[in-house]
Amino acid sequence: MPGREILRIDNLSVAFKTGEGLRAAVNGVSLSLTSGEILGLVGESGSGKTILSLAAMSLLPRNAVVTSGRVDFAGANLLTARPDVLRKLRGKRISMIFQDPMASLDPVFSCGSQIIEAILLHERVNRRQAGERARDLLARVGISDPARCMRSYPHELSGGQCQRVMIAMAVACKPDVIIADEPTTALDVTVQKQVLGLLRSLNQEIGAAILLITHDLGVIYEVADRVAVIYRGDLMEEATTGNLFVSPRSAYTEALIASMPSVSAPKSRLPVIGRDDRGVISSVVEARSALKARPSSEPEGATLLNIRNLTKTFWTRESSLSAPQAFSAVDDVSLAIPARSTLGLVGESGCGKSTLSRLVMRLMEPDSGSIEFEGRDLVSLDRDRLRAARRDFALVFQNPYGSLNPRQTVTDLIAAPIDIHEKGRDREATVAKLLDAVGLPRDAMCRYPHEFSGGQRQRIVIARALALNPKLLICDEAVSALDVSVQAQVLNLLQDLQDEFDLTYLFISHDMSVVRHVSDTIAVMQKGKIVETGPAADVFDNPKAEYTRTLLSAVPKIGTAQLTALEAR
């Protein structure tokens, strides 16, 4: 398709209305989308990428306003167009796919009626024809039973299926432009691969240009033709995908790419994004703060945690009429973690890895099996001894916003284990030392969680986990909710702390590249079972299990092989 400019965003600025006036979200960004291409818009959270896309469609929320600029599409300025003009364009010539698929569908209407409605809005067909077209579309987007899907309500479908329904609606009228805002962020990595493949094939079939918004550089690498990088409302760089990764022009892009775990050697120190006093961004490899020398890569020491044949079953029912069915969340799992090493546990959502972590922490009772910690069986301990045993292991949670009590000061938060087990002895001194260890300033002690960013909060959570000098730290998706650059900082911190405090980690994540980076050994989990274990390098380079291979191939990767293919285009 000949490249003619189809969507032009010109010097667009958007701001939020706050109690103290306007706060800029997007500063004079200009983008141009050529017909038939896939343009990736990449940025971290708070960079303004979503607001930019909403502004382009004139769908801004009440508290946001466009302060300047224009958006030219199909001969009209979308920002100032009359409502009826806008209505005719939306859904027909330009459509949008949102991040949370289930929330984007009307819960009280069936999916079929919504797709038909979307078709009838713009096409002159009767209801029956619209229904046929809807079924065809559903089949095209990969729904295995279109008729059943049509009859279903959104809550009866999975996230991936809902997103396919959304995509079906978006392409129903063969638009010229599709804006996809983080379409795969809420999905598993294998489903993500399918959805991205679907978008790519639709792009080729219909010739619709796609503006793909994401925070994941790997996705950009695999799918996008061109990339625009946005940081704090400013457009940093715009280039073809190949050029961007091989020779990024902006320092931010360079630093962003460098801080991705997949481009660094495993277990090495990740570069982070540094901003000096003048605001200049650069990629920085921070000096190691620990004094101890890094021990050899061979994990020494006895097995710290030995899990044997652990099983946990949940009983669920489809409806109140059908018989309760057993759902094996954890099915005969056996793992061993040597002291002072890191075991990475990787799997998709629903595979049981969170349940496993809760079982090890004894927050749930296993149905059978044993958990041996330093030779002692945890399962058989009575309540008091268990409480005492809790000093030795700690859990670091995924959500930095939910895992800290908003009404407690940082001191209270970090000293909580000391208050519980040692009646608060020496809490101030210990808290101060812990803050130093995690790299937070001492004046944080009397502040509240909401005053800190996501990465800083996660440091507070880690400090709390270390309060009683535990031996085992379970990190359950500890960096999954963080931006790539912040993730790099926290991963470095975890590595430093492991050396400094002789810690053992059980690192749980769905993100393969992160797991590869931090682990000595890896276990792959699927549907409650461990399908493969082994040293990290072995599992990644020579996967033996079928599922491991599927998982590895689904991960969007930045690699030289694919790079040359793109350059050749």
Binding site: M57, L59, P83, L86, R87, K88, L89, R90, G91, K92, S95, M96, F98, D100, A103, S104, L105, D106, P107, V108, F109, E117, A118, L121, H122, Y153, H155, E156, M166, M169, R317, E318, S319, S320, L321
Partner: protein, 323 residues
């Protein structure tokens, strides 16, 4: 087929819950006489009378009070289930009193809730759609005023204005519809409007907040992104989603409704069930009190049951799957 059986199961479980609730209240009602200070017989004979011990003994035997409490309870429960609520202190069967006054209360309550829904729901929707603008401010202020003014104050002021000053409507009493239909409805107007306006204010406030909550949801944005007319977005999709909480709200107002009838019936001398209850309480007419409460409770539970069923019919998430 799955839908039908799920529905039946849901209906069944709600019915069971309702019966349990009724039973609990019936038991509490029964025990009123026994936990009240004083001898039940003396209470029944009346506080003023000073009966001799023979009279007391005879009464005791006649009423079966000399039997063990448990058998009395079971007998009473059995009678109540078959519709025999005993006799009031003046000898007239309680059921007679109840059946003559119950329809009047139902009529008043129905008129009020219909009026309240007709006024309150559109007001709430209008305020939500014009959020932040003058109309919203006006309607919200009126609604706040409406829930603050006690129903008997509103009634008294309406009587003052419409009945005494302007003479448009009668201020109290009841006329049977068979005798004079026009006068009957005239007498229904003031009490109905009084009760209805206060409820309308509550319904308006809650409708507004439900609408706002739904308008802020993601799927509304998606609908607009597909090029849907704003009118269709609001009137077909948003409203259909709002129907669920609005029905819940109206159902919840039934508590206020029953409370309101007590006051409104007293204010307007409307001879309904609540007036019966108040008079019975003032006179310590225990059998009548028990019968009235049981009837009111049964009515209440029945209405809640209907609202529950309606709610589950409207929300496919409940209808199709037990989340």
């Amino acid at each position: 087929m799955e839908t039908l059986s799920t529905f039946v199961i849901t209906l069944g479980s709600r019915l069971v819950t309702a019966l349990v609730q009724l039973w609990v209240i019936a038991t509490l009602v029964f025990s009123i006489m026994y936990i009240m200070p004083g001898d039940p017989v003396l209470l029944l004979l009346g506080p003023e009378s000073n009966p001799s011990s023979e009279t007391v003994a005879a009464m005791c035997q006649q009423l079966g009070l000399d039997q063990p409490v448990l058998s009395q309870y079971l007998k009473w429960l059995g009678n109540a289930a078959t519709g025999d609520l005993g006799n009031s202190l003046d000898g007239v069967p309680v059921v007679e009193y109840v059946t003559s006054s119950l329809p009047k209360t139902i009529e008043l309550a129905s008129a009020a809730i219909v009026l309240a829904a007709i006024i309150g729901v559109p007001v709430g929707i209008a305020a939500a759609l014009r959020r932040g603008r003058f109309l919203d401010g006006l309607l919200t202020s009126l609604s706040t005023l409406g829930i603050s003014v006690p129903v008997y104050i509103l009634g008294s002021l309406l009587i003052l204005l419409l009945s005494l000053q302007l003479g448009w409507l009668p201020s109290s009493g009841y006329t049977d519809i068979s005798r004079n239909a026009f006068l009957h409805f005239q007498k229904l107007t003031l009490p109905g409007v009084t009760l209805g306006l206060g409820l309308a204010a509550s319904i308006a406030r809650m409708t507004r907040s439900s609408m706002l909550e739904i308008l802020g949801r993601d799927f509304v944005r998606s609908l607009r992104a597909r090029g849907m007319r704003e009118r269709r977005v609001i009137w077909l999709h948003v409203l259909r989603n709002a129907a669920i909480p609005i029905v819940t709200i109206i159902g919840l107002q039934l508590g206020n409704l029953m409370g309101g009838t007590v006051l409104v019936e007293a204010l307007f001398n409307w001879p309904g069930l609540s007036t019966l209850l108040v008079t019975a309480v003032s006179n310590r007419n225990y059998p009548l009190v028990q019968g009235s409460i049981l009837t009111i409770a049964a009515l209440f539970i029945l209405i809640n049951l209907c609202v529950d069923i309606l709610y589950s019919l409207l929300d496919p998430r409940i209808r199709r799957k037990r989340a």
